[in-house]
Symmetry: C2
């Protein structure tokens, strides 16, 4: 992790907002700044140059182990009263509300990623009349910071992508041989095998619940999981999957055309690939995200498919599989060098079938770099 | 789903709060009331006896398919302006904030599960001075409703438990034979195989990222996932896992003692099993959750292990794997017949090793019914 570099950028942002103290509630924001991902909250104090990570007792040792920055870890909760102090080198016996009130009350101006604050805490403490006017919402500051990746972050996303693609490729090879030998294959067995292959490639977790759809289920952007459904007679299968590596996610989709009925799906895939390349060609620093979306949408319009593309073209990817920026007709984001984006053109014919492809790309000053190495059409 | 029965209970609760209109934001709350789980929000209007589910366009068809109650599904987002109206039988071209403001402004008293409201929406709309005094927080109303299960809900949790246990049992059999044939086994391969077996048992998703820990990783209540770590020379392995069935979760933990070094772990397991039975014996309607926790803790104290049990004894389980009630020394919950709980006594020796067992039980008027069938010690 290049946490020192990231912390420096964060500190600069706080200074430009005239904030000397910040409380970070979002799990992914804490992971971004420290390397620890789990319950708890972070207090960043520029005056004393200290970082304090408050966690429940059950996360205390893991937090100490996973921290990539110099920070004090404190076990909080009134539960620790009943536990041996030898277990925890640093404890705070107050509950979350009491600790948060103490921090907010001690400083005239505190930054907080309010969009990630626990709502119950907010309703009781942060939003109370005497405190809310001293709290500055830094949700968007962190979103913007996180949207532009360091070279380390790019490497982790690339590694997640390459390993996820290896698992996908193996799955499709296994599928082809199972189909050739006329085995009955269920969507549950495909999903299970795909996830197993991801762990065998050394990915540390799933970035999201993978999508494995065939038949009319491919007409849903987010299909229900029906484990017992047979693959038999399906013209194609949509696989949307991503693992995480060093906390960072990827997100890859392939539509695999099976041996039969391929005349239905091939023309769709060709239109999606054209839309993908139109969008890819438009990517460079300074271009608006909505313009990139429009390029893909226009190409689908040319193929008579515009009305069947019912979501945005893509999204930023990082610690969260969906993060800033947003690529859609409604987006006001502007692309910056170092952003890592998915491009996922798709078509869905209601009640019938659909198709989607998805790659991950890095925005550069003068173009885009694709992280995927798998072919788009299978 | 027995959604009609659940809706009736919910309606009674609203009436006793003198609420005629409610907005539900929590994904699990919406799933509880309708059968649809995904992005969106629900508007419940007692005066017109209508339920309206607002979803993004990409979830429109799935929502229509998964609804178990009579409700109107509306695709919202300004994106639909650019899409063919034939695709969506019902659209609202406003964004979430505009729709929410309209609902809140139209009624003198609106219930909302505020703890699940999107914070950005709350900061802009719900929390604004002219609206916040007409909004009644029904977060705890829904938590309390959901904590007492219908017979259907119990059946789904039981089915999830039995299927999860079948996968666990197969995994351990495979593990034993792999160990006997001296194969090198990694934690990643165990985790992948476990998840594959869950899908082969027909579970529809993971209730949470399964825990697969061996060696000093068992000393962490929530250990990091290290896929490449070998099982070699580990005295035992901790497996904490649960799939979902018909939206409902389970949560099962077993500590599997391997062939070697079992003298370290066996006595711990015996203490955990005694603690589990002490707690189980205390469960019945009307008992406080903290008392059940205390029974287990006292038994661990007798074995000199009290300081090493650093979390609560258990939690409610349902659509969410962690829901009301809480079993801990700090809990103020009282047990009611129909609650479904986990009991998960554990010990963790910092930096060395630990062990945990976990079962799911139903509170009855005069005792407890255990859903698990697997033996506690392996």
């Amino acid at each position: 992790m290049s946490c020192a570099h990231i912390l420096k950028r964060f500190e600069n942002e706080l200074q430009s907002l005239r904030i000397r103290k910040a409380v970070i509630f979002g799990e992914s924001n804490i992971a971004y700044l420290t390397g620890y991902k789990g319950s708890g909250f972070l207090v960043y104090d520029l005056d004393s140059s200290t970082i304090t990570l408050y966690v429940p007792p059950l996360e205390f040792w893991r937090a100490q182990k996973q921290l990539k920055v110099s920070a004090r870890v404190v076990a909080y909760s009134r539960l620790v009263k009943s536990l041996s102090k030898e277990q925890f080198s640093s404890v705070d016996e107050r509950n979350l509300e009491e600790i948060a009130f103490g921090i907010l009350d001690s400083s005239p101006r505190v930054g907080a990623d309010l969009s990630y604050a626990p709502m119950e805490l907010f309703l009781k403490v942060v939003g109370s009349a005497n405190l809310s006017d001293k709290v500055v919402d830094i949700t968007n500051t962190l979103r913007a910071l996180r949207s532009v990746k360091t070279s380390h972050e790019m490497e982790y996303i690339k590694e997640a992508t390459i390993r996820t693609e290896r698992a996908l490729k193996k799955l499709v090879e296994e599928l082809e041989s199972a189909i050739a030998s006329k085995q009955n294959i269920t969507l549950g067995s495909i999903k299970g095998e795909l996830i197993k292959l991801l762990y065998l490639e050394g990915l540390e977790s799933l970035a999201f619940d993978p999508i494995v759809a065939a038949g009319e289920l491919t007409a849903y952007p987010h299909p229900p999981t029906i484990p017992e459904r047979s693959l038999r007679d399906s013209a194609h299968i949509v696989l949307d999957v991503g693992g995480t590596f060093n906390l960072y996610s990827t997100d890859v989709t392939r539509t695999v055309v099976l041996a039969h009925n391929e005349r239905e799906v091939r023309p769709l895939l060709e239109a999606l690939i054209s839309a993908y390349y139109e969008a890819l060609d438009a990517i460079r620093e300074g271009v608006s995200a909505s313009e990139v979306d429009a390029k893909a949408r226009k190409e689908l319009e040319r193929a008579g498919l515009k009305d069947y593309f019912v979501h945005g073209l893509g999204h930023g990817v990082g610690i969260d599989v969906h993060e800033a920026p947003v690529l859609s007709p409604l987006s006001s984001d502007e692309l910056k060098a170092g952003m890592v984006l998915t491009l996922e053109p798709a078509v869905y014919f209601k009640g019938r079938y659909g198709a989607r492809i998805e790659n991950v790309v890095i925005v550069e000053s003068n173009g885009a770099r694709v992280l995927n190495t798998l072919e788009l059409a299978w």
